[in-house]
Amino acid sequence: MLDWSQLLSPIVLTLKLASLTTILLIVIGTPIAWWLARSTARWKEAVAALVAMPLVLPPTVLGFYLLMALGPSGPGGWLASHWGARTLAFTFEGLLIGSVLYSMPFVVQPIRNAFEAIGDRPLEVAATLCASPWDAFWSVAVPLARPGFMTAAVLGFAHTVGEFGVVLMIGGNIPGETKVLSVAIYDFVETQRWTEAHILAGGMVAFSFLVILAMFVLEKRIGRRPQ
């Protein structure tokens, strides 16, 4: 017997998590990417490496440290104590923190590339037209980097949807709160409910295909755009 609510709940939760993660990452990632693109500091590549680290780290490493950091003896527990909770693990907020860290390179890198591609010239021109750096950033750099922002949003969103290891380690499998799509699929497979697993897994395959296809089409269109 198919229980649609069991299928729907993880989908809704995953979309919510991925959307919020993407928004947060654009907000946090843009200044980081801007700094990485414009700064002349010698240690900036060290910061870039730090941001990119989730690309190579096994999710279990991130999951392990997060479980410690979110727990009662870590900063997450300290934060949670402000509203009377003990830990940020097993909460949606905890997953959000994990996802932001985990998907950060996928957002920062495309935006940084886009900012770097602009070069100094348009900003110098803006400066000669008496635009303040703040004004130049918003009315020159951001519009020119728009394709980078789109790539970043698509990749950040998709990568969060595909998250599994970190969630498994800090989530606690709570329906509607931390039981996201990938964990639900894992659960269905383990309990031999393969019809449900097929529906969700098949959906993920179609989704991934569409995302990657959209990326390629987007890149091609941008590539053709006259400079």
Binding site: R86, A89, L168, G172, D187, V189, E190, T191, Q192
Partner: protein, 260 residues
């Protein structure tokens, strides 16, 4: 100096290759002496299984290769052709099902241990565990996933028997197996949790409440010979060893009731 760099790379590769070969040599030597036995072990039995495997290796020269996980997870893998030769299950139902569906050898299943459920905490005093559950003054209680782990199902049964299942439902977090459940409690992310006695019997700190046996159905844990091990003497020897007095002593040390 590009030439020097290439030379350096070549030397590094050679050194790495030599190192790998040297590291693998003892492995191949061990494989020649005895046979490997691939054993899937329910997570709650992790510690005793390691002790038993070491004793078995000393006694016979065969080398057990242990994998730990949730019983349900192993079953899903076995049904898809995983090469395990023995399943040390956390329940009776899974080995029986494996036999019924043709993944295990008929007549080889036996109960090696009776599992005991405990409530465990690092921060709460559980001298009166049932009272703590009824008061519910905690944020999170960890159990193993009841759909795949028998200790999780026993935890649900216990909470229902105590009449606290409905009020506590919002506080329940699930570990993927009993090992992860223990880890949730051990890291303090959940104040307390239902785990296997075997996991906490050696723990020095923390408080525990042994759940009275009448609150949940006995967790009879069976082991069974799987089809890939049907022709292996080493696998059969391991099962015989698991039944024997030496293994039984280890099993009882870890707080299990004796099996057959």
């Amino acid at each position: 100096m590009p030439g020097g760099s290439v030379e350096w790379q070549r030397r590094a590769v050679l050194v790495a290759a030599a190192g790998t070969v040297a590291a693998l040599l003892p492995l191949t030597a061990a494989a020649r002496d005895g046979k490997e036995v691939k054993v899937a072990v329910a997570a709650n039995f992790t510690e005793p299984a390691k002790v038993i495997a070491t004793a078995f290796e000393t006694a016979t020269g065969h080398k057990p290769v242990l994998s730990f996980g949730a019983t349900g997870q192993f079953y899903a893998q076995i049904s898809q052709g995983a090469p395990f030769e023995i399943l040390i299950s956390a329940d009776k139902a899974t080995p029986a099902k494996a036999i019924r569906e043709g993944f295990a050898v008929d007549g080889t299943a036996f109960t090696y241990a009776i599992g005991k459920l405990v409530l465990y905490s690092k921060s709460l005093n559980l001298a009166q565990g049932d009272a703590v559950l009824k008061e519910g003054r905690f944020a999170k209680i960890a159990i193993a996933n009841p759909a795949t782990a028998p200790y999780g199902a026993a935890a649900i049964e216990t909470m229902k028997a105590l009449g606290v299942h409905a009020p506590l439902q919002a506080k329940v977090v699930q570990g993927n197996n009993i090992a992860q459940t223990f880890q949730f409690v051990e890291t303090g992310n959940a104040e307390l949790g239902f785990v296997a006695l075997s996991q906490v019997i050696v723990a020095k700190d923390g408080s525990r409440w042994t759940v009275p046996a009448h609150l949940y159905s006995a967790i009879a844990q069976d082991a069974v010979l799987l089809k890939p091990g049907a022709g292996s003497d080493a696998a059969k020897a391991f099962l015989a060893f698991l039944k024997g007095p030496e293994a039984r002593r280890v099993i009882e040390t870890y707080g299990y009731g004796a099996g057959q």
